[in-house]
Amino acid sequence: MTTAPAIRVALQVSRGFAPVIAIFLAIVIPVFVGVGVVSSITDGEASAWEIAATGAFKWFPFALAVLVTPAILPMYVTHGITRHQFVAGAMLTLGAFALAVAAFLNLGYAVEAAIHQAAGRPYELRSPHLFESWTEVPLVVAEYALLLAALLACGWLIGTLYYRLHWLWATLLIPAAMAPAAGAELLLQTSWTGSWTESMGWTRPSLAVALSVTTLLIGATVAVVYTLTRSVPIKLKAT
């Protein structure tokens, strides 16, 4: 029992999420393989994985993040974990999860590109990205990890608001709680946000500014989550 409590929490939370994530992957991967097959017939150059990367792989983890405080925090306090240790552990889990998903998406691009190459077809990403090619691994991982981390932080904040406040206040605060994710989208200007900002004639800030300000936004969101969580009462669940 010498492992730091936050790491023990992170490992336990990851174990708890693992079956749900496995079910999600078992559904999503065949769906997008199917989409890939259809798109290779109708539009042979486009990436189907790019659609998965900008949709399901963002919003499903967001839904999981909403559950972190209301569903998981009480179990850990019951077992002697402080709220501070829990927030640190959950932050590690969500951060590692964002990085793992980003790496997995990069791997998906690699596999898809290899299939296109084997079929002798060109391979094209149609949305704006921080990267020009899937081979620019640091940029691919940075883009997806930061966008997902921002969304996870917002989901975690929304769940915490519902646990801490009356549901009406929590609902009214959803737009404010989603602001960091919107900020990250506007700063990084990728996928549909990138297309929209492009059409508006806006230019992306320098890469260093976009990455560092997005990181700050995520950190600030987690700080708000911690502020709301550090003294939250553990409510008695109805039987």
């Binding site: 708890g16 749900v20 002697g80 402080t82």
Partner: protein, 292 residues
């Protein structure tokens, strides 16, 4: 290791309602305590404050001399078990048991023994799929196997049937003898549990009504049993409860009975019995009106 508890002027408010109202009491270390009170008396709120589930509005809670709230040294040593187990609906029984390992005092082998003893079907089973009784038994397993120096049960056993509750009492006592700790039990099943309690605290409307050694409290009262007209001679003492069964009447008296009470009663040919903790509890808390 055991932990004593000091509660000083503890107030917890929910909006305009004071669940606990300047409550002060002391739970001695290394004993089994009964916490009794009617619905809404503030028992669960008090236990939540002891277990760092909630911060008091004012006043202090000290466990082992320290404030338990967000105390990383103390919180792993406190285990509060509620009937809901505080788990989410999608948790499996196995994951609930694996969470126990977060606590340094957790005994996984003992947990498995108890799972077998209470016949809880833990393998590949969601907690929500357990019957209420088995879920309550799982909660008790988590509490016992936690071996926490301060272990608190808040009505965790309500869903269990009588034989399972009896097995739980036996196991609780046996494990308490093997691993002494401070145990606080909140219950409405007063008669069933009264044999376990070394000390009892009764609270009502967020305030302390009575606290002391169970034996001393019971020694301050007596049940007088005999023909009705004779029992009426004990008038002058506070009658806590009366029961009639045909020509026989039982009256429970409580308070300062005087040194010669027992002699007087016995010389009158009356039978004396121990005071029932439940009768005493009803007497002390009955003033609050019962709302339909």
């Amino acid at each position: 290791m055991t932990l004593g508890i000091e509660v000083q002027d503890l107030t917890v408010r929910f909006g305009d309602v004071a669940a606990l109202d300047a409550l002060s009491l002391h739970f001695e270390s290394g004993k089994v305590h009964g916490l009794l009170g009617r619905n809404g008396a503030g028992k669960s709120t008090l236990l939540a404050a002891l277990a760092a589930y909630r911060r008091p509005t004012s006043g202090r809670v000290l466990v082992g001399g320290e404030d338990p709230f967000e105390n990383p040294r103390l919180m792993p040593q406190i285990c509060l078990i509620r009937e809901t187990l505080d788990v989410y609906d999608t948790e499996t029984c196995r994951s609930v048991l694996s969470l126990g390992a977060l606590r340094p005092t957790w005994d996984a082998v003992y947990a498995e023994e108890l799972v077998e003893k209470f016949e809880i079907p833990v393998n590949r089973r969601w907690v929500t799929k357990l019957s209420r009784g088995k879920k309550a038994a799982l909660a008790c397993v988590v509490g016992l196997a936690s071996r926490a120096p301060l272990t608190i049960f808040d009505e965790a056993y309500l869903g269990m049937d009588a034989p399972s509750r009896a097995a739980f009492y036996d196991e609780l006592l046996a494990d308490y003898m093997r691993h002494p700790r401070t145990i606080v039990i909140s219950t409405h099943l007063i008669e069933e549990f009264s044999g376990l309690f070394e000390q009892v605290a009764i609270i009502d409307s967020g305030r302390l009504v009575l606290q002391g050694e169970t034996d001393e409290i019971r020694a301050r009262g007596a049940s007088v049993i005999e023909p009705a007209e004779v029992v009426d001679r004990v008038a002058g003492h506070a009658v806590v409860a009366e029961r009639r069964l045909g020509p026989t009447k039982s009256a429970t008296v409580y308070g300062d009975l005087g040194a010669d009470f027992e002699e007087n009663v016995r010389s009158a040919g009356l039978e004396l019995g121990p005071v029932s903790l439940q009768d005493l509890f009803i007497h002390l808390t009955a003033n609050r009106s019962v709302k339909p």
